[in-house]
């Protein structure tokens, strides 16, 4: 039988603006995941931490930081950084090591403590760093890029500010049912329109905040789990960390210019769609198989782009899907049942892991009031800076 990797436990520290050490959130989430798995920490053979760049040296070596905080056991470790995709990269490393037969059970942890306000580049003058230059030369904040995508939807596909608000209202309603979400409030359309414009056409309530939080998963080989009587654990059927293909012609954070398509024609499938396509291929599944998805709604408008990248509908038709209620709880493919980034705010290294936690709970039927009835297959979609992106597919 093909070796399979299953998620035997998922755990979180609730998202918020707690202002404490990120290690505390990571340890809390790890303990919660281990408790759900019903195994001891001393059983863990491999620890992977998703790094944070805003908490000093312990954040750069998160695997070791969490392993030390949980108590040294001699386990092998790794620390991964891939911007917003760090958590998926950590899952990928652990899963691959299990698939290779180099270990049987691994703990994956990501946690962050974030400053208030816009995410800004790290300190110091670095003229060769595009992330530094886009702030310095242009004042091109993250919401600037989110707004570009939103504006294109309006000018090309007829999206309206009401559509973007409707995404926020939909996700807030589901986030209100999630005890781990930072904002457990069912915001209304009026709330959205009363919030200040940040980057036209996007308003404050349509842009994800930065949060504190932690998420963890216990992954194991199916065989190891079943030997311990753990049956029916959800399978991590695919992890895609595809990079763009030259020429990448969509304006993406943090770059000031795209590649040129003067000599080489752009690939048929754009970067984000390709990240997901590769996940579908790896899992042997397609968009028709999805029962739900967790997507990176850095802005409410961006969720609509993801519908198309997930191939839930043709390009330009995401608004139709939204308006038809297809992507809300009770619809054909609910998107962001956790509440998404809109309800969580982004705790960068934890976020991609949190997306997978939601899928694990959903396909196990343990998602409580936000349960998608009969959920068997879910996909995550995530994008980070510098050509990082990820998609994880979880199956019952």
């Amino acid at each position: 039988m093909t070796r399979q990797v299953v998620a035997i436990g998922a755990g979180m520290h609730p998202w918020g603006k707690w202002g404490r050490n990120f290690v505390e959130y990571g340890v809390h989430a790890a303990k919660a995941a281990l408790a759900e798995a019903g195994i001891a920490y001393t059983d863990v053979q491999y620890v992977v931490g998703a790094n944070t760049m805003r908490n000093g040296y312990p954040g750069y070596v998160a695997g070791a930081t969490f392993a030390q905080a949980l108590g040294w056991t001699g386990a092998r470790i790794a620390s991964a950084y891939a911007a917003c995709a760090s958590g998926s990269q950590a899952i990928d490393i652990a899963r691959t090591r299990i698939l290779a037969g180099l270990c049987d059970v691994a703990l994956v942890v990501g946690a962050d403590t974030t400053p208030k306000g816009f995410l800004a580049p790290n300190a110091g003058e670095r003229p060769d760093d595009p992330d530094w230059q886009r702030f310095h030369l242009l004042g091109a904040t993250n919401p600037t890029y989110f707004a570009f995508a939103a504006r294109r939807r309006m000018d090309l596909y007829g999206a309206t500010e009401d559509d973007f608000a409707a995404v926020k209202v939909k996700n807030a309603a589901m986030g209100a049912l999630n005890p781990n979400a930072r904002y457990q409030k069912a915001f209304t359309r009026d709330d959205v329109f009363a919030s200040p414009l940040v980057s036209d056409p996007l308003r404050l309530l349509q842009i994800c905040a930065t949060s504190d939080g932690g998420a963890a998963l216990v992954l194991a080989s199916r065989q190891w789990a079943e030997q311990r009587g753990i049956t029916g654990a959800p399978c991590i059927a695919a992890v895609s960390t595809a990079t763009p293909t030259y020429p990448a012609t969509t304006v993406e954070l943090p770059d000031i210019a795209t590649d040129s398509s003067r000599v080489v024609a752009p690939p048929a499938r754009g970067f984000r769609a390709d990240v997901i396509h590769q996940a579908y291929e790896e899992a042997g599944l397609g968009p028709d198989d999805l029962d739900l998805a967790e997507v990176y709604d850095l802005s409410s408008a961006m969720e609509l782009d993801w519908y198309e990248d997930l191939a839930l509908c043709p390009v330009g038709e995401a608004e139709k899907l939204l308006r038809a209620g297809t992507t809300t709880l009770g619809g054909r493919v609910p998107v962001n049942t956790s509440g998404g980034l809109g309800a969580f705010g982004e705790a960068v290294p934890a976020q991609a892991i949190a997306q997978v936690c939601e899928l694990v709970w959903q396909v196990r039927g343990d998602a409580g009031a936000r349960q998608v009835e009969g959920a068997r297959v879910g996909a995550t979609a995530n994008q980070g800076l510098f050509g990082h992106g990820s998609s994880v597919i979880v199956t019952r």
Partner: protein, 160 residues
Amino acid sequence: MAVQVRPAIDGWFVAEDGVVALLGAQCTTCTTVAFPATKVIVCPNPACDGVEFRRLEMGRRGRVWSYTTNHYAAPPPYVSPDPFVPYSVLAVELPDVDLTVLGQLADGASIDDIRVGSEVELTTKALYTDGDGVARLVWAWRPVADASVVPRAMTAEVSP
């Protein structure tokens, strides 16, 4: 006393005699282009082994790919005017080199005149005044006054 001006960054654009151009690097092997020229180490086209580049003054006109107006000050290293005034950032497709590049909207231009697809041209704007009292310039975009005019040949190659 004449106001001293200097680019806010070296090697990304030229502004001489009223002519403003962004500086790309063109691979001498496959002719693809990359911006900014300063980032290029080897040819970014993975199918090309090129390691030599000529400096290319890229098109002065382009079409708006997208745009926004920011209503909050960006954090440092952006030097935000005090008091803050909303500022607009555009992403512009350059048809002669087939790439898209960002830039602020020029002073005096109105974002109300901009749509996806609008034709714009390069100019400069003062980004901030540095510690020596020197105005630091950055490239900027403004609507083309008469968009019906067929743009002249947009690429000028200069010796490396």
